[in-house]
């Protein structure tokens, strides 16, 4: 998510392919270094939906379809 623009596709690929994985890891680290938070939407056990916050590439579930980066929360108002 990019303020003023909304959703922007950063990169995509199959993490099982070495080249793709390197690119995905690079993009992941770049976003976190920019201060973004990363979340993976998933199904909760009770039938609800929830997000899993991830801080490392290895924490991303293998069946995750996407990782959403959004600006870090800060106190406002």
């Amino acid at each position: 998510m990019k303020p003023g623009h909304g959703e922007v596709l950063l990169t995509e690929g199959d993490p099982e392919l070495r080249e793709d994985e390197e690119r995905l890891v690079l993009a992941f680290r770049e976003q976190l270094e920019q201060g973004m938070w990363a979340a993976v939407p998933e199904h909760a056990p009770n039938g609800r939906r929830q997000a899993r916050m991830v801080k490392e590439f290895s924490e991303i579930p293998t069946d995750a379809e996407r990782v959403i980066f959004f600006p870090r929360a800060a106190g406002g108002c």
């Binding site: 998510m1 990019k2 303020p3 003023g4 623009h5 909304g6 959703e7 920019q34 201060g35 938070w37 979340a39 939407p41 909760a44 039938g47 609800r48 939906r49 929830q50 997000a51 899993r52 916050m53 959403i68 959004f70 600006p71 870090r72 929360a73 800060a74 106190g75 406002g76 108002c77």
Partner: protein, 206 residues
């Protein structure tokens, strides 16, 4: 005599040419610059609208059907709190502490925590998602992205989001009357939705 005048005229023209030529070239250059096509860099009135449309699709794809319908119909999303260790049922003074609680998530407004059993407002959490690469004059997330960011942060790491927020008593930013009215709207909306589901279920059985 004629020859002398001609020679003088030629000299005058040559001098004038030397004097005027740079100015003429400068004017021509300015004229070309004025007429040149410049790639549009101005405000695009459709950009925010398109961003919001994309954001709505993204939100819809992340939350469940109930939450999406709630946001579409009411303009906010309810997220259940996950840090309550208290009894299942609340509503009395004895069970108020630790009772299940929830949040109302509005776009670009504070998150409001409340007790669903009593509709008692607990607090406002003011939180923003600023673009840290542009600390001054940062643009805002589209409305639906702001709701999704709050939803993800609340369902993914509630403690971290609440720790990042500025907490205030109810009524600082959102009018408590408005918040209570929204809670009433939510209960009516849920009742209608439940009735619709029952009707469709009984219709399917018949």
């Amino acid at each position: 005599m004629l020859l002398a005048l001609s020679a003088t005229a030629i000299v005058i023209v040559a001098l004038m040419w030397e004097v005027c030529m740079p100015r003429i070239e400068e004017e021509l250059e300015k004229r070309r610059a004025r007429r040149a096509y410049v790639e549009g860099v101005g405000f695009d009135p459709g950009r925010e609208r398109r961003a919001e449309q994309r954001a709505r699709q993204l939100l819809k794809s992340c939350v469940n059907d109930e939450e999406w319908a709630m946001y579409r119909d009411l303009g906010f999303v309810r997220v259940w709190g996950r840090n309550a260790d208290g009894p299942e049922q609340g509503g009395t003074d004895r069970t108020l502490e630790g009772a299940p609680y929830a949040y109302l998530v509005y776009p670009h407004k504070p998150i409001i925590s409340y007790l669903p059993q009593t509709r008692q407002l607990l607090s406002e959490y003011c939180v923003e998602f600023p673009d840290e690469t542009r600390p001054y004059g940062s643009a805002r997330l589209p409305d639906s992205d702001d709701v999704l960011a709050k939803w993800m942060a609340l369902t993914g790491d509630e403690r971290r989001l609440i720790a990042s927020a500025n907490m205030h008593l109810p009524g600082r930013q959102v009018d408590p009357k408005q918040a209570r009215r929204d809670l009433w709207r939510l209960s009516e909306w849920e009742r209608a939705r439940l009735a619709r589901e029952r009707r469709s279920a009984s219709g399917a059985q018949a």
